[in-house]
Subunit: 297 residues, 2 copies
């Protein structure tokens, strides 16, 4: 990880975590439910999506507020709920995530389902009660629902499960991932831009950046499953091949996937440089550049 | 059912169903997901909560709008998601609901979990995109999340599951149900009052009405499990006793539970009559009175 990104993460991750803890503790009355929700929220993770949101807002020169961290927390809570439900026996049936037992292995399936439901619901709650204007709240709630619902992340999860039984073309594969992982990544950048009152031209350019980011992220994920180190990434590798899943590496080969990843990286960097010129903010995009750079390191 | 209620339901249920169908179809791209969501939404039910909402708004003399039906639809979508998840093998493990196979019996557990997640998320989506003012949207989204989240319905579900293994006092039992079923019923009435721009005095009185309604509703449910007819209510009776669950009938006996139900009914009716006087709207509360009357018939 580059120094600029390390510093940015050090500055903000603790505040994101604090906002999530506050949101959960404020409204959760049942001890077991609170434990189950907190277990997954505290299980680590790079906080990629909330950091993308905050980095985008800062990039555009608008100071971060408590409201920014609340939207960032809501986004990570939705990501966390999706992991809990994805890991369930009826879905991917994973016993480990990031090297730790998954939620249902610790708390049982019933409570894991409810903890996921609660994280999803409380994500909307924290935004609704957040320190934001009514207009910002409505934008956030609507777009977060769109990105995570049956037009976005959930659609992608359904398509992913159904895709396991057949081979996909490259464009079908991209369509699955654009929604399964892409939608929340695109929301992160769009929300940061909205909070910074970006012009529609900047909004559109950053939407392109986040689109390339989402694809690059998925190619990297597929590559790690083939050439990654289990001890480093904290989960079993070789699973995609075992399940006979269509991936970027199965379609393009390892070298082809690496080449495609590099192309999306370069396009994303070019966009940030273009927005820097557009907004007269030289080098302001260093963190956003560094974030996508982690995918090709 | 009284004529006044029958007429009210005939006038509005179709519009509620239409708004739900529109909300789901507008954003659901995957065929299997759409089928699974629609199956449970179309599985019937009295539409008690959305009708309570609409009846409250009409009671206060404010014409219903498309926005009213959208909030009503969101509320019923959340109720429906909660039934899908409650029926799962890891929860109540029910194979039948309203005389039909439960969602996971038809579509499998994985898709049933995702259909529930999607109904919950799309409920927020339809309000966010609804024909309402920003202020109304924020009120609705925040209070709907509060009523259905880890402070409301989900907390009640957790407490209910944990309560199965121990006996509860009457006040503990009421605390479980105030959240498990009461929170959404109270939201229904509060949302109708909000959409009608009710004064805080009327809001407070109607909150009391909905509180009595919620308790009466649960007592009725417990009574049906003891003295109900399986063919009429569409599910197995005697389950509470079999599971050794604390209920109103186990604590108060059948006659005691019936007496308590009657008291809550009478208090609720008295409140509606008080609000009729307060707002100078004689007999305007006929539907709200008829709705709680169904619980003692």
């Amino acid at each position: 990880m580059t120094d600029v990104l390390k510093q940015f993460a050090q500055e903000h991750v603790e505040k994101i975590n604090q906002e999530m803890a506050t949101a959960i503790q404020a409204h959760t009355t049942e001890k077991s439910l609170l434990e189950s929700m907190s277990y997954s929220v505290e299980a680590g993770g790079k906080r990629l999506r909330p950091l993308l949101l905050l980095a985008t807002q800062e990039f555009l020169g608008k100071p971060l507020t408590k409201g920014s961290y609340q939207v960032a927390a809501a986004l990570e809570m939705i990501h966390t709920y999706s992991l809990i439900h994805d890991d369930l026996p009826a879905m991917d049936n994973d016993e480990l995530r990031r090297g730790k037992p998954t939620n249902h292995m610790v708390y049982g399936e019933g409570l894991a389902i409810l903890a996921g439901d609660a994280l999803l619901t409380e994500a909307f709650h924290v935004v609704g009660e957040g320190e934001l204007s009514d207009e910002q709240k409505v934008w956030t709630l609507t777009n977060l629902a769109k990105a995570s619902g049956s037009y976005g992340m959930i659609a992608g999860q359904v398509a992913d499960i159904e895709g396991e039984t057949k081979s996909l073309t490259l464009s079908e594969l991209q369509r699955v991932h654009a929604r399964k992982t892409g939608a929340l990544i695109e929301f992160a950048v769009a929300a940061g831009a909205m909070l910074a009152d970006a012009t529609s031209e900047v909004m559109a350019a950053l939407a392109e950046y986040s689109h390339h980011f989402g694809i690059a992220f998925q190619i990297k994920d597929d590559l790690l499953d083939v050439i990654g180190d289990e001890a480093v990434i904290g989960k079993k590798t070789g699973m995609d091949a075992e399940l006979n899943k269509t991936t970027y590496t199965s379609l393009l080969g390892v070298a082809g996937a690496q080449q495609s990843l590099k192309e999306h990286y370069e396009e994303a960097i070019a966009i940030i440089e273009r927005v820097e010129k557009l907004t007269n903010r030289e080098n302001a995009g260093a963190v956003l550049k560094a974030m996508i750079q982690t995918l090709i390191d």
